[in-house]
Symmetry: C2
Subunit: 611 residues, 2 copies
């Protein structure tokens, strides 16, 4: 998409009206003028937020990044000035000079921080013009996000957006303060680096000097920060941009920001301790919230109770396994699943017996998204159980199910039977949906949780090989090292994830620092010695020359900032985000380039987009 | 070049020797143990810097990022411990526990910060091994830079390199402190952006989602920071990575770091004032140096006196123009040049009359690098003038030359006649060379200078068009706006460069904020309306909706850091730099990628490097 300019301009007369800034020296920001300034002369500059002629007196709200203040152009000061002020339109850029006065009694604006005062203008400079805006600079903007992104320079003028970006600025500073106080060294790592395809897809950058070769943009500074530990920096941090060329599901961005750190001579608790310090300070200093003790939960427990490794524990609706009952019952669907290694889990939606057939059908469709082939249910009513499946169970089995799920009159129980990942995916998402439906989630609560004891590997069905659940530089638990080659599925990782309100906001691990163990892990994930050397040779090499025990973590800064600001989308806390399809609607990137540019890079295009 | 692993490993017995970190809790950094700790138990971790068995007692220097301390393994404590300590080799990673004691009188090491004390080890854990190093971890390293870059994890262990990186860390923090105190907002701008070929060559990133389209890596955040001003952020800063795919002359990197800032409602002096604050604070806090008044020199004066817009004014040897004499003299070479619009300038190398013919020949070759076709000279000796050219001048002319150059017995005068840029390039570089030869430059002096009043455009002979000297968003001086279309060569820019010891470390300008003026400047540099819209449409659009007067600047952080650390090369202040040919010798980037990766990006290679 090439940039579609409006071809509208304001010229001629309006241009002639414009003045230079000249010697004008601003004395205050608009939002900071207060009653203590009454009687003082001030010089202000900013944007015309609104302006109206009220019986020959012009009242203009002047806005800058700190807020608004009312300017009065009165014939009492100068007729000429009033005539000039009448020419002002929304979003014109002006500089004014005047006296701060108390507003007449009864005309104060309590909604405005500066609402007690107004400035009687004595001078006015019109510095720049503005076309009528495509949407008003207003917090409850009604236009679609595409228009907002295209006119990002206007969208960012809205108070909410400006406050988001200023909040983010403060978040950077507080984060760095914590790391600096804790003896961390900020170090920049490269952006033009080597493609090591493992994990997400790389963005590539063709080299002009080396025909046929490419740099890759970093998915994270992972290997460089480990190298920095080998170099002896002991404690490193960086607020780093990272890149993943993934299909942009939900709320992802092709470039995102990570608070990245690494430490030497540490165990899990040392790293988690630093992460907690950062999070506590951010909540305390930015929102005035004290975060209490942060519980630690094992991966197995999280999967068992919530069906996910990032549970939102602000509400119940926990999953209960009934596989043991299901495998003995006469309900064929459950029996077949359990005979094939599947499981059956259930949740009790308290008070849900009132759900209609239509509502249950909708929930069945919903769990279908996660691969569940059905959603069995039992309503517990004062007239007994209502359910299409209850007839397949003995009374003893039913009683055991009701007991295990703590079912009472008025409840509805939902069951999913399938392979474990399908059951967990379906029920964990159903749990969230029901939690929202029944308004069980207290949004004022901050729910932070550590998940630990992850499995080291998971089996990749498609590629018929083991895959690292985190990444292949994660250390196995010391007691599991012996099992690495014999029984990879049983090896637990020294990894930890931080979950905030059901969202993974950070994760990390103690890393492998011994060459022999790193080589074994590469072997488990199916890399030949040659492939391992080709891709990660420099890491293996570094591990030969005195690598210290080390570990670290990374926070997703965009996500953390969005959660703290109560924003649904990370795009609202990024100054210039891309769309879900990776476009920058402001600049029109990505775009076509000149043929000479490609020629110099020794590449050609094999397929062009249809316009 | 694929990574050339050594295929050397330490396995078997050595691996068995290794222990886990376990519950070990470091209590101090090595370099921070002092006499005040005498009698205390400490736990330290780090690298074996050196180790020696001295009559059954093992003395080991343990090193971490803070420094070194002597550890004593004595049979007085434990025979077993001594036996274990005898297995230590250089760069092994260990944790020790022991008691701090005062060194016996006469054995103190005044070269070591911790030289008064030593630690009597009671426990030793060998955490990791090391192969013998390819070069010692030593400040005066004797190996070539390629080896240092390949083993960067070892190179960075050297005290000088580690101190450089820690210095750079402090430089970041102080810089941000100044901006934060001055009310600037730190904002991140995108890395995946639009190619706007004007200025340097872009690095491109093929889009997978939009076949045939490309992102470009930013050459600077220029347009985004201007957009942020239009959005009303008022004061923005960022320590930003920038990318230029240029032929890497001298000491350039394809990715480099810039301290970038922009302000609204300002003039030149406001921006320069902030830049000075940053520089003063850095020198004060990092080096304890007070920078005095910073002089301001016009571009014309700098070119006239020094032949360059980044003069090192710590020494004299100024250029004097003698075109007026040359155009009347009978020396054909000078006459021809002046008749073709060329100029003649000269410098007086005080005391240089002793230069040999060979030395003068070498200098002639040297100025040839800059395009000078010859280097005329006159020696002033007590036996009169010696010169091949003096015979072409009248006595009056010679006297005027000698007077203008303040020539005395013992001096040598050098002359270059050519087009102005050749003369200035040749003589400004000759001036630097002679200044170094005669040791005229006081390295202890900090020489800071502002250069202002640059021309707005320069004529590009090859492309037969005007080109922006800085960039096309630089504002012309208000009084020169009228000349924009009629006489672009006469228009001066509202630009300013900061020169530190003869190196341009920063530059910026007041920007164009009016759509009509921006359109005119695009016209001068030969962009059609359509091209301007295609490339910079979003900027032109933003200027229509209330853009405030604004300006800003950027510092080259790598260069500034190198100068402050007294490093010749910026590579020594970058953790992971690239070679002059853009390679990362540590990781082997750029490298070949898998054919599937290119297929997904809809590109193919047209030329492969010959191995």
């Amino acid at each position: 998409m090439t940039y579609n300019s409006q071809a509208k301009s304001l010229k001629g007369e309006v241009i002639k009206m414009l003045e230079h800034l000249g010697e004008f020296e601003r004395t205050s920001y608009c939002g900071e003028v207060s009653a203590s300034d009454i009687g003082k002369k001030v010089k202000l500059a900013g944007w015309v937020d609104t302006t109206r002629d009220h019986g020959g007196v012009v009242f203009t709200d002047l806005r800058d990044r700190t807020g608004k203040i009312q300017i009065v152009f009165s014939p009492e000061i100068s007729e000429e000035l009033v005539e000039k002020a009448k020419k002002l339109k929304d979003e014109y850029v002006v500089a004014i000079e005047g006296e701060v006065r108390r507003r007449p009694s009864g005309t104060e604006n309590p909604k405005l921080k500066t609402g007690e005062v107004e400035v009687y203008a004595e001078k006015l400079k019109i510095l720049n013009k503005s076309l009528p805006l495509p949407f008003p600079v207003d917090d409850d903007v009604k236009v679609g996000e595409d228009i907002r992104l295209k006119y990002r320079f206007l969208d960012l003028r809205r108070k909410k957006m400006m406050d988001n970006i200023i909040f983010r600025h403060k978040l950077y500073q507080i984060t760095r303060n914590v790391f600096n106080e804790e003896g961390f060294i900020e170090i920049e790592t490269p952006f033009l680096t080597k493609s090591t395809p493992e994990g997400a897809r790389d963005f590539l950058v063709p080299s002009r000097i080396y025909p046929g070769k490419f740099y890759a943009l970093p998915q994270s500074p992972q290997l460089f920060k480990q190298i920095l530990m080998v170099a002896g920096f002991d404690r490193y941090y960086q607020i780093a941009r990272c890149f993943r060329d993934e299909d942009l599901r939900a709320d992802r961005q092709p470039e995102f920001t990570q608070v990245d750190f690494e430490m030497s001579f540490v165990r899990e608790k040392d790293v988690m301790n630093i992460a907690e310090k950062v999070l506590r300070r951010l909540y305390k200093e930015l929102l005035g919230i004290e975060i209490g003790e942060i519980p630690v939960m094992s991966y197995d427990e999280a999967m068992s109770r919530f069906g996910t490794d990032r549970p939102d524990t602000r509400f119940g609706l926990e999953l209960k396994e009934i596989t043991d009952i299901a495998e003995k019952c006469s309900f064929k669907v459950f029996r077949m699943v359990t005979e094939n290694g599947g499981i059956v889990k259930a949740i009790n939606f308290k008070g849900g017996a009132t759900l209609s057939r239509k509502e249950i059908d909708d929930l069945t469709k919903f769990v279908g998204i996660y691969g569940a082939k059905g959603l069995a249910w039992i309503k517990v009513t004062d007239k007994g159980l209502q359910s299409p499946i209850v007839k397949f169970f003995t009374e003893g089995e039913i009683n055991e199910i009701l007991k295990r799920l703590e079912a009472e009159v008025g409840d509805i129980l939902f069951f999913v039977a399938d392979k474990p990942d399908v059951v967990n995916a379906a029920l964990s998402n159903l749990r969230l949906k029901l939690g929202k439906m029944a308004d069980l989630i207290d949004d004022s609560k901050i729910n932070v949780l550590w998940i630990v004891d992850f499995p080291m590997f998971e089996w990749n069905e498609d590629e018929n090989r083991w895959e690292a659940l985190h990444h292949p530089f994660t250390s196995p638990k010391e007691e599991d090292v012996e099992k690495l080659l014999e029984d990879p599925g049983k090896v637990r990782a020294r990894a930890y994830d931080m979950v905030l309100n059901g969202v993974e906001v950070g994760g990390g691990s103690i890393r492998i620092y011994r060459e022999d163990i790193q080589e074994k892990v590469f072997k488990v994930i199916g890399l030949s010695d040659e492939e391992a050397k080709e891709r990660f040779g420099f890491l293996l090499e570094a591990l030969k020359y005195g690598a210290p025990p080390h570990g670290g973590m990374a926070f997703g800064l965009d996500r953390l900032c969005a959660i703290m600001r109560g924003e649904e989308s990370i795009r609202d806390v990024i100054a210039f985000p891309k769309t879900q399809r990776g476009q920058c609607l402001l600049t029109g990137a990505p775009d076509t380039v000149r043929p000479e540019q490609l020629e110099e890079l020794h590449i050609e295009i094999t397929k062009e987009e249809e316009e």
